[in-house]
Amino acid sequence: MSRLLSAGFMRLWKSRVFWTLVAGMFLWSLFMVYGNHMECIAKGETDDTLTNFFFGYGVIIGGAVSIFASLFFGTDYSDGTIRNKIIIGHSRKSIYMSNLIISVAAGAVMTAAWILAMLAVGLPVCGWNGFDAVQVLVYLAVSFFMITAFAAVFTAFGMLLSNRSVAVIVSFLVFLFWLQCGAYLYSRLREPEVEPIYTMVMTKDGEEKITDASYIENPMYVRGTQREIYTRVLEFMPTGQALFLMQNEVTDVSFMIFGSFVITVVVTLGGIVCFGRKDLL
């Protein structure tokens, strides 16, 4: 497998798709720093700290990996070069695993580009507040496993869908759908438990005046076992983890890592079995 990795990384180094995505992550990160800083200035807010959006890459990296994996591995199908590896005796399992490792590495480099831009430009502009080194390392560990899970899923699509265009579209749509599911669950968890009800009267001067305020239960608030399930599902899914990372709300680190690990192992084993049986052209 080392030979496949060597060849794969050489190709990665020369890949236009890869460097475009790395540049995209870098620029997006700069845009986030700039946009947030300008908003803080405009609103006169003092809470302009890098930690507010430092881990915001979570919701972007999945999409970037989906595009990368489907285009990079799809080229092996469209150019027919996957045959060169099999004809000379590399096992399908080795080809699959080496591609997964390349996918994870590409995702990690793209994330590093985001972080680099944050540190290089965001740190001097916005400053750092509220996170110590251990917390950062924990968040980075969760991020790494999350990227690995994304890479496992989208490597599977890239390896099992022979048509590159179809692979790109399907992978990105799956990512968007997955993110949407996460966003829905997350928004339900963010619903307030009670909602204020205000009684207002109109004064003679034409002004509205609150005369009474009470609270009622919010019917959208998720309670009990359902809340527990929603939370666990979100912590299990990489897209849910991405949202928690973005909001700096990572709590159950071990469960999140476990979730990513399970997704990675199950999807990879399934992918290897399916790829092993696939008739290549």
Partner: protein, 306 residues
Amino acid sequence: MEYVLTTDALCKSYKKHKALDNFSMHIPKGAIYGIVGKNGAGKTTLIRLICGLQMPDSGGYTLYGCESKSEEIAKARRRMGAIVETPSVYLDMSARDNIREQYRVLGIPSYEGIDDLLKLVGLEGTGGKKAKHFSLGMRQRLGIAVALAGSPDFIILDEPANGLDPEGIVEIRELILKLNKEKQITVLISSHILDELSKLATHYGFIDGGRLIKEISASELESLCRKCTRVKVSDIEALCLVLDDMGLEYEAVSEDTADIYGAFSINVLVEELSQHKCEVLSMNGRDESLESYYINLLGQHGEVKV
């Protein structure tokens, strides 16, 4: 005879379509083995199975003495290279980078042989030009260079002349002959361009409907295809007697017809036959080519290209 590849009752179906049906063939070491068959006969399916791109439903093959189901087959595959349908090259890479990439896949630490390989296929002057800007012939030659990167003893070429102009066809033909003669590389080549194949092959396998219907060496085929005169007479025994007396080589092909090989005087033959009260009913010259042999073998004209 030492065989590089033998297949044993290979079967492969796609849904209800049987692409290969009990296909058994034998490729001797050092041969240029031409697989001849019309479109959809099963040539590419056979190559895909041999290359490990697809698995047979049943049957197997032996490559350099290694059974297809054994783990050693991976090692045996190191000794082969192939082009299946289209050249397998990265279009956004130069010729040199493509070979370099294949060197890495093969685990060859030094890039020293790349220049020789590019020279061998006539792509030494392409520089940084990307393969997507190559002509089809250049891509085909690059595909062969990639297939040759591991210094294989056996290469498989699936329709290498497809889409090439006449000059490109000649270039590929000369390259294949060079590889076979100078590097003793055994070649399996599939084609439905029979005229082209007849200039290369030392052995032939005729495939139709997924079955190998005939396996024959080029010399055997030549003897079968050599010039002859087909004579139809009223008395075949008299004809045989006369031909024996005249010392001519012949073959009785039916109860009233014989093929006579070599030159002879028609007047003398007719005169001799008339003395035996044998009448000549018809006489025509036959010059059987690979194409006519193939058509006779299959009993149809189908989609054969000349």
